[in-house]
């Protein structure tokens, strides 16, 4: 598998480590109800199809990346900096 890091270009899988679903970016407010925190911490989708995952360019530029890929075809559809995704989400909230 090869991932295209926005900073470093296309690199081999071995340079990256995997974290899990990109929903980790959507951290609830400190005072959010326990159900919301429970969903954030413990509930995950397991889609056959398009999914968004967090990868870390550990052997590269140390960027956290949001990789959009298809779990059926293994196609990688997009790779964005988690920082950009988080900032964009923050703006949309306002």
């Amino acid at each position: 598998m090869r991932i295209t890091c926005p900073y470093c270009g296309t690199r081999d899988l071995r340079e990256f480590s995997y974290r899990g679903a990109a929903s980790d970016l959507e951290r609830p407010d400190a005072e959010a109800p326990p159900e919301e925190w429970h969903a954030y911490l413990h509930l995950r989708d397991n889609p056959a199809g398009v999914t968004r995952d967090l990868w870390y360019h550990e052997m590269g530029c140390a960027s956290w990346l949001v990789v959009t890929r298809n779990t059926v075809t293994h196609e990688i559809l997009a790779c964005d900096l988690a920082r950009d995704v988080a900032l964009k989400a923050r703006e949309a909230k306002r």
Partner: protein, 976 residues
């Protein structure tokens, strides 16, 4: 028998080798199989289950029968396919799976028992009693049914791993592959051409073909010469592309030196990772057998293999050769044999309408229904339906048609598609992104068709690469049509083999169907068809056809046959090259490493780091004596210890304080400059991640330390929080673990030691307990922290790593003058347990801040990672196992780590466990063992006597629950 001809062997270079202790001669360019055939050796192996005598069946990597052990001692390699192994001077090969010898194998008694050993016999016969399976049945079956064995000695040979990148990877160098490589190379693409064989050319090396009116090999040589001259082409022969993976990644195994008598310093094999923007799969096709009764005799082989031996190796595998087929390959083989001067005993074509040349003992619409000759073929029986004839023959060439070598197209989950006309599976459309099947791999079987399709595939690839093909003509070649009449099995008396390697017959597959294993996946597992090292290359399609017939379905309705990587066996040594021994885990050394080794300290691993365990002295009774002495240094004088392995993260920026407030559960924005604070870090799920100190070096500058074990994890976590959760914070950080050598100087005389060492004495007002700041040592800028992991008045001093070794030597020498010295990990551990300081033995991933008595550190005034979850029900309260100290009721009582804790009057069973011991040591200060552990509602049970039981070590000790701080509970020594 060797015959005349212009094959690819070098008759000027004879090569001597041995098989089962007998010496033979072949020529350079021979495989083990061709050289043995040339010497008249037909018996080359025994089958897996029935120990049937077997001869070579193919001329390629799909060989199911001729598996041998090559080499001796540590370098011995089992299950080498004789059809792939090239001979070299002095090569030693031995047959396998026989005892005492290949010709007299006593275990062939299994063959007589075959009526009882059919499909599923393991499951049916050896079920009960259960305990017999492990002790009796399995070992006996394993001994009787097996492949070659490893030597058991470490392999000293070299292997390698390598990486390559290209525009276009061409897999296979037959007419399609060569044409594709040439077209792409001329257009300027960066091309890698991989060929599994030791020679480029594919089937062109094995057929009497012509291209542009000259022998096909001339064209091959011309193309190779041109490719070799181009700087944008890499030619890799003896290289099998073994797997296709995501985003154009391919695995390939190169046999670098397996064909050499003396590999020198070359690796035997190299495993390649190839990243290719595009790929042309020109892997050709594999001829398939026909399952007729007793089709496994030595001397029965594939017709295409026979032609390989004939044309490429100039070997006639028999004196009287019969040919049996369902397509024109049979006729072609007979004609080639005749042209080579080999007697053709019979030409049997199953097609009634076949047009057969004159001058042969030819049978149309006929089948081979039986064979004779236990150790080697003697005769075949041919039936036309109306009459039967027994014909003497010592070799039978068989062709059941061709299966495209589409294995790589299945590696990403695509299923091949059945083609009724070709009676074969073809690659599915777009099965692997970027891979373009071409030629025979796609079901195009004529040479002219392959040349044209290779060019077409290259053009398609070039288009995707944004390159333009140069106009060029196609060479002229034969365009004979391929017609095949499906023939999978021939009924008759006797077993008809489908999977030669695993001894699976037509009857076994029918039995599977009868017992309702009708799915192809169930049939395979029940019969073990396709599960040998050839991975069903010779048998999958045939077995599927027999299953389809037995279940009254068509082939596409019955299922497909798919393939997983690797295409051919890959040695683990090659895949794991560079990762053996020390290569498996690199070593990290501190700057004091050499000095510690010089002092004779046994080193222990801490992650990848190596740290001194203790410092032995002459006359010591053992490590405990050294450890006690070193604890004494710190408690009574001064000890020195290298603590550089702790993670150090330099954090800077206007928002550094806000960032730390968010990652630590306690507050750092209130920390004064020049001060240090203990920090506790939680995971978002409310459990403790790590702990350590964090110093504020300036208004916007902090230095965080992590535990040795969690340094990498914490760094990754900080990056995540910073980039993904708090991107608005202006903060940067970098790991400086390697940049600073840091030493603990601990004990009542630590101040005196530093005063003698530093350029200026320690200023008490600048360095109160938990103070930090800049100092200089012999003019070198250093950092001094007044922190303690021992409970004594202590400091840590850090210098740039290049001064580490010098400073360590100086510190230890000064400590020794003061009645102290270096201390190792054993003493460090005792010192911290005596003070109740935790490590990852306590914060092992399932403990919360509440559990370790730090629940109140989770600040109520701010949000932080793990705060919401730490308030969750069940993560605090009296039901939680919480940190306690334990001391034995009797001074000699032992408190082993891992032991469980029970109420004194309850039986020590799992359901009664109320806690466990995490850290333990002998405390020289107290004169008995002490321990840290977790106990339900522990802090409120101080003074209670509990029962400690270690079932593994057979220890049972009564102990008193106490405060985890055993020494100096008010911390006066540390602060004073």
């Amino acid at each position: 028998m060797r015959i005349d001809g212009a094959g690819l062997i070098n008759r000027n270079k004879p090569v001597t080798f041995s098989f089962d202790g007998r010496s033979y001669q072949g020529f350079e360019g021979d495989t083990l199989a061709s050289a043995l055939l040339a010497n008249g050796v037909r018996l080359m192996g025994r089958s897996f289950k029935y120990h049937r005598p077997r001869g070579v069946f193919t001329a390629g990597s799909e060989e199911p029968n001729a598996l041998m052990t090559v080499g001796r001692g540590a370098a011995q390699t089992p299950n080498v396919r004789a059809t792939v192994q090239e001979i070299y001077e002095g090569l030693e090969a031995r047959s396998q799976n026989r005892w005492p010898s290949l010709s007299a194998d006593l275990l062939s008694v299994n063959d007589l028992l075959s009526p009882f050993l059919g499909a599923g016999f393991y499951y049916k016969t050896f079920m009960w009693p259960r305990s017999f399976w492990e002790k009796l049945y399995e070992p006996v079956i394993r001994r009787a049914a097996g492949l070659g064995a490893l030597s058991g000695a470490p392999d000293t040979a070299r292997y390698d791993r390598a990486y390559a990148f290209c525009d276009l990877l061409v897999v296979g160098s037959g007419p399609s592959g060569l044409m594709a490589a040439l077209t792409a190379a001329r257009a300027g693409a960066d091309v890698i051409l991989c060929e599994e064989d030791s020679a480029f050319g594919g089937r062109l090396n094995s057929e009497a073909e012509e291209i542009d009116g000259a022998p096909a090999r001339d064209w091959v040589q011309a193309v190779l010469a041109e490719l070799d001259s181009l700087p944008n082409v890499r030619l890799m022969k003896r290289t099998t592309v073994t797997g296709a993976y995501d985003q154009g990644t391919y695995g390939a195994l190169q046999r670098v030196a397996l064909h050499m008598a003396d590999p020198g310093d070359r690796p035997l094999e190299t495993f390649w990772h190839i990243a290719a923007k595009a790929c042309v799969l020109a892997a050709g096709a594999l001829e398939r057998p026909i399952a007729f009764p007793m089709n496994d005799r030595p001397g029965v082989m594939m017709a295409s293999a026979l032609r390989s031996y004939l044309h490429r190796f100039n070997v006639a595998p028999g004196k009287r050769v019969a040919v049996f087929g369902n397509n024109d390959g049979a006729r072609q083989t007979a004609e080639d044999l005749r042209a080579a001067g080999v007697e053709v005993a019979a030409l049997v074509d199953s097609r009634p309408e076949a047009e057969l040349p004159v001058g042969f003992n030819a049978f149309k619409g006929a089948q081979v229904i039986h064979t004779k000759g236990y150790m080697g073929l003697k005769s075949i029986t041919v039936s036309t339906g109306s009459r039967e004839e027994v014909i003497e023959a010592d070799c039978l060439a068989v062709s059941g048609g061709w299966n495209p070598t589409l294995h790589l197209t299945c590696h990403m989950g695509a299923r091949p598609v059945w083609d009724e006309t070709l009676a074969a599976f073809l690659p599915a459309e777009k099965s692997v992104p970027g891979m373009i099947p071409a030629g025979a791999a796609k079901g195009i079987f004529s040479t002219a068709g392959c040349l044209a399709d290779g060019q077409r595939a290259a053009k398609e690839a070039l288009k995707a690469l944004g390159l333009k093909a140069k106009a060029s003509d196609l060479p002229a070649a034969s365009d004979a049509p391929y017609s095949v009449a499906p023939l999978w099995q021939v009924p008759g008396k006797g077993r008809a083999w489908l999977d030669f390697q695993n001894d699976v017959t037509v009857k076994d597959v029918k039995q599977a169907a009868q017992e309702n294993f009708r799915s192809v996946e169930h049939m395979k597992r029940y019969t073990t068809q396709g599960m040998a090292t050839d991975q069903g290359k010779n048998s999958n399609v045939g077995a599927l056809a027999v299953l389809a017939d037995a279940t009254g379905r068509g082939i596409p309705e019955t299922g497909t046959t798919t393939f997983r990587p690797p295409f051919a066996p890959v040695s683990i040594a090659a895949m794991g090259a560079g990762a053996r021994g020390k290569g498996f885990a690199p070593e990290r050394f501190t700057t004091s490493h050499a000095a510690n080794i010089a002092r004779g300290a046994p080193m222990i691993e801490a992650g990848l780091w190596y740290r001194p365990s203790y410092f032995p002295r002459p006359g010591d009774a053992g490590w405990q004596e050294a450890c006690n002495r070193e604890v004494g240094f710190v408690r009574n004088a001064v000890g020195v210890c290298d603590v550089s392995t702790l993670g150090k993260i330099d954090i800077q920026g206007p928002d550094a304080a806000a960032f730390l407030d968010f990652v630590y559960c306690n507050t750092f924005s209130t920390l004064k400059e020049g001060r240090v604070r203990y920090g506790l870090m939680l995971r978002e799920d409310g459990h403790v991640m790590d702990d350590g100190t964090c110093a504020r070096l300036g208004e916007t500058h902090y230095l965080m330390t992590t535990t040795t074990a969690a340094a990498g994890q914490v760094m990754k976590h900080l990056e995540f929080v910073s980039q993904a959760l708090r991107p608005e914070l202006d903060v940067s950080f970098t790991s400086v673990t390697e940049h600073w050598a840091q030493f603990a100087v601990a004990g009542p005389k630590s101040r005196a030691l530093l005063d003698s060492l530093l350029d200026a004495p320690v200023d008490e007002s600048a360095f109160p307990f938990m103070g930090c700041g800049a100092v200089t040592v012999a003019g070198v800028p250093a950092r001094l922290f007044r922190i303690s992991f021992s409970g004594e008045h202590a400091y840590e001093i850090a210098v740039p790593a290049r001064y580490g070794a010098a400073l360590y030597g100086d510190l230890v020498a000064r400590a020794e003058v003061l009645g102290g010295g270096a201390y190792g990990m054993e003493a460090l551990n005792v010192l911290r347990i005596e003070k109740g300081f935790i490590t990852h033995a306590e914060i092992h991933g399932r403990t919360t801040a509440f559990d370790i008595g730090m629940g109140r550190m989770v600040s109520a005034r701010k949000d932080c990672i793990g705060k919401a979850a730490s308030r969750r029900e069940g993560l605090s309260g009296p039901e939680r196992e919480q940190l306690v100290g334990l001391r034995p009721v009797l001074p000699e009582g032992r408190l082993p780590a891992g032991a469980h804790l029970f109420s004194e009057n309850r039986p020590p069973t799992r359901e009664n466990s109320e806690g466990y011991v995490t850290s333990t040591c002998f405390s020289p200060s107290l004169g008995h063992e002490i321990a840290l552990g977790f106990l339900k509602n522990g802090p409120l049970r101080r003074g209670e006597v509990v029962k400690l039981v270690d079932h593994l070590r057979g220890v049972e000790t009564l102990c008193t629950v106490c405060d985890p701080v055993f020494i100096d509970p008010d911390g006066g020594r540390m602060r004073g």
